[in-house]
Symmetry: C2
Subunit: 112 residues, 2 copies
DNA sequence: GCATTATTTCCATATTTATGGAAATATAGA
DNA sequence: TCTATATTTCCATAAATATGGAAATAATGC
């Protein structure tokens, strides 16, 4: 991962509403949640929510899929793992041996 | 850690110049670097650098100490660990057992 | 005290980001 | 096709963040 991607991904969760959205989607698991449910649970108006979902999507931290009239959003666990790995490396540069790998974070036993 | 602190810390590194500064300080180890050296290495003018150092300081991700006329800045490894731990928890909420602890990142064998 | 060096603060400006109403788009069922 | 529902896009506005020159502050040695 290059520094620009890291900054983009960090920026996407460096905002309270978006970090809450991401956390909610992580909790929701691989099935995810439709936009409307997210907005309802977090009390965010549609256009504002859409803006934040776009930010997270463009950063690659969430995915979406259409199910009937609903658009389901899901956390991209692999992307979050990549970001954590990048930060861990940068946090520990030069002292790599002291840091655990952060590569096993996902909602099931396998990986998506 | 609460969500607001997490957002503050994330914001402080969600910017290219600041992430570079932090990375440089991590590499510099516990002795750190004086502001002037940071600005020189990263080619950032004094006032801009001072602004970014303040952001990182206020978020708690770096510390400073005066040594003669120089102000040495150091990475706060413990704070970074705390942030990584928060993200790991939030990334894995509900599936805690799949995530490694990220609590052992520091420049020496011990912890600061 | 004065000159030198290191860093910060002040300030104006530019840029980016966030907010949410209203309208547009898309999907599905009757 | 008409209607209802879900979501996005458009738009204006507000707020926060980033930049860097110039001046101010702080520390040191002579």
């Amino acid at each position: 991962m290059d520094i620009k991607s890291a900054v983009t991904q960090l920026s996407s969760i460096a905002q309270e509403a978006r970090l809450e959205i991401f956390r909610l989607l992580v909790q929701a698991g691989i099935e995810g949640l439709p936009a409307g449910s997210i907005g309802e649970k977090l009390d965010i108006p549609p256009s504002t929510l859409s803006f934040h979902l776009k930010e997270l999507s463009q950063a690659g931290l969430i995915h979406s899929r259409q199910v009937s009239r609903f658009i389901y959003y899901t956390a991209n666990y692999a992307a979050m793992n990549g970001l954590l790995a990048y930060l861990t490396e940068n946090c520990c540069a030069g002292v790599t041996e002291c840091c655990p790998d952060v590569t096993s974070c996902n909602p099931e036993k396998g990986n998506e």
